[in-house]
Symmetry: C2
Subunit: 145 residues, 2 copies
Amino acid sequence: MNSKLPSTSRSLPIALIRAREGAMAPIRDMLADTGITEQQWRILRVLAEHGSLDSTTLADRASLLFPSLTRIATKMRDKGLITQTRDEVDRRRQLIAITEMGQKFIDSHANQAAQIVVGFRTRMGDENYEKLLDLLALLDPGPRD
Amino acid sequence: MNSKLPSTSRSLPIALIRAREGAMAPIRDMLADTGITEQQWRILRVLAEHGSLDSTTLADRASLLFPSLTRIATKMRDKGLITQTRDEVDRRRQLIAITEMGQKFIDSHANQAAQIVVGFRTRMGDENYEKLLDLLALLDPGPRD
DNA sequence: TCGCTTTTATTGATATGTTAATTATTGCGA
DNA sequence: TCGCAATAATTAACATATCAATAAAAGCGA
């Protein structure tokens, strides 16, 4: 038999997927009917926090693959949420910044988003919440300068 | 400003995504060039563990949405990895079982997959590993009852 | 400067995620 | 039994994930 393999109920990848579903559900609810997707929300959050960023850094911070970012950014630019400008020094590079409209969207949902976080902290306990973030960081592969 | 929102570097959803990337990377490497995707591997794993299952239960155990399962199952049947049979009592339902070919694929990769798990346990420490699974379970939204 | 390599970004092709609409059965109450 | 709500599965439509291939610009050594 395959007693070598752990039960799928204790499988780390599956546990991570299910946890993500649970963590994202309230945010998904918040974004429903706004026309903003989960990934677009992440991009706006990162830009609001760090200001203008080059594409590579933005993709890393928002945990998106580059090709995904390319396509999402095009849509967000068309919707007026971000701007894309060529780096005049290195014309291969591109700088992405949040627009006033994008910032307004963040502002108008900041309270609700913060409440969602409070909800999880309350539900799990502050200590567990912090511990979980620390343990997850151990699995984090990417370089986060 | 948005000091209400946590830094994206301590964002639970982003941490979960990045952790999943880290956890899946070795499995992705293992499956590369086999023609079996990550999701197909999960389905085979669940079927090998539980035997024949109806679609709804399978989707839940493999953490897949129903429409995704429909498409993936069709491909897996065409490849000879699983079988799909109508429930004769309730013709709406469908039973899915692993084939001998599917089981062989599991068997031929069980050792390698088990080694990957050992690697993570070693890297994080057994105690942390178990603790992480317990904490993730707190976020699990649970089966659709 | 020329040619080659590297880096950055886009595009292509396929698979999956996600919600809504649709179809096929079943179950149930008037 | 008829009609309709509920369930299981599929299909549609769009967005994203993922890897491969390509294009464009920059860097670099002969």
